[in-house]
Symmetry: C2
Subunit: 221 residues, 2 copies
DNA sequence: TCCTAACCTGAGACTTTCTTCATCTAACCA
DNA sequence: TGGTTAGATGAAGAAAGTCTCAGGTTAGGA
């Protein structure tokens, strides 16, 4: 998953000895810590290095610039989410659509909410760091996982799995964003979680039964 | 809609004469122009002023700082979207749920896509400018519009209109974001638009017929 | 033990942009 | 027509953080 972006943003040096690998990890961890404690605006490479217990010089040995540093932290986090989704999708192969929907949504929201603050903090950084491109890659990967899972359902899916997967992903992303950006995510979580499952289930249901859907083809305004 | 945020970010001086009002408008417009042409990173207040045909000093007469400038541009754009939604919601009162869904989605996507590039450019700026807070306000307003509309349907809605509205909004936001951030929004627009309408219609349908939905209440993983 | 490569250090040079303010011009009104 | 306020100007002050580099330290193989 860790991707080589075209813009020179990858580490300058690959950790060889154990101590340097530890440094890289500490730096990435510190990045999030600092982000959480002082916010994006006041995050400086010096602060990050200091928090990681290394010097700025060391930081710049592994990250060519501040952007690469933030990008590293973002990728690390998104990898977790992608990984979590991949896992559920593998587990749920062959199940019914409803089971898939519930499992997928629960896993997704659980992962996102587990460190909600980190998610939010990283949202804010995303735009400084080509976050869209990274998110696209993740999305693509996730899309394959979900579509692949859907294709194996014991029910009969009458639509393009990729399209269906896109819808489901979009809805999940939309709800999770709304949740994370709301004043008190925990308060709303339960209601939205259940409703999202209901929402998606109804859709998948309609995508499996043979329903005349021509009536829904509406011209744009 | 133009909101007074608690952090001092509102204009220093209210335009009194016509020429100054024109300046403010030109500045806001120039902000978007510069954003589109050189991107957030290279946007400077000097460039914006120059593009607007005024001096930096003038700019700072109406915006206390760069942040307020960007925020102004963002608010202006979001106001349009909110306004568009409000309008449809008023128009669609009393209609069927399906009609509402189609009209709402079409209007929303049309507005967003009309100046897709601006939308994307402003996304990138949002995090530097307390965009979340602004978006929340808009969301709240939109939520009222949508819920209000839903409540007037000729069908019978069996769920809390606010909750239903939240779901619909989230789905729309999710899809539009996916669209705007995709490599070629236009290519996917039609397919996603139709599918989103289908998606939401099936949901609303399920929210109006009396369906036993206890089976969807699933425990979190 | 000795040597080499990997790794770490941190003061400060350098760059860049924001924002101010003293001063000038245009508009409006009596 | 003169006075007063609104509006405009742009050179330059000030701040702030990024990133380098010359030199020191540690690990591990021979």
């Amino acid at each position: 998953m860790s991707q080589r972006s075209s813009v020179m943003l990858e580490p300058r040096k690959q950790p060889v000895q154990a101590r340097s690998a530890a440094s890289v990890d500490a730096i990435l961890e510190a990045t999030i810590q600092v982000l959480l404690s002082v916010g994006k605006e006041r995050l400086t490479t010096t602060k990050v290095a200091s928090r990681a217990g290394v010097s700025v010089g060391t930081l710049y040995q592994y990250f060519p610039n501040k952007s690469a540093l933030l990008q590293g932290a973002l990728i690390r986090h998104l990898d977790e989410v992608t990984e979590a989704i991949g896992r559920v999708c593998r587990e749920q192969r062959g199940k019914t659509l409803k089971e898939m929907a519930a499992a997928l949504i629960n896993a997704f929201l659980a992962t996102k909410m587990r460190d909600a603050k980190t998610s939010v903090a990283l949202y804010s950084v995303s735009s400084d760091v080509d976050g869209v491109k990274i998110a696209q890659q993740m999305q693509l990967h996730t899309n394959k996982s979900v579509a692949g899972m859907l294709a194996t359902t014991s029910d009969t899916l009458t639509k393009d799995p990729q399209l269906v997967a896109s819808m489901v992903q979009s809805a999940m992303a939309g709800v999770s964003r709304r949740l994370l950006e709301s004043p008190e995510p925990e308060k709303q979580l339960e209601a939205l979680r259940q409703e999202l499952i209901f929402f998606v289930c109804k859709y998948l249901e309609a995508c499996s039964a043979r329903v005349p859907d021509s009536e829904f083809v509406v011209e744009p305004s």
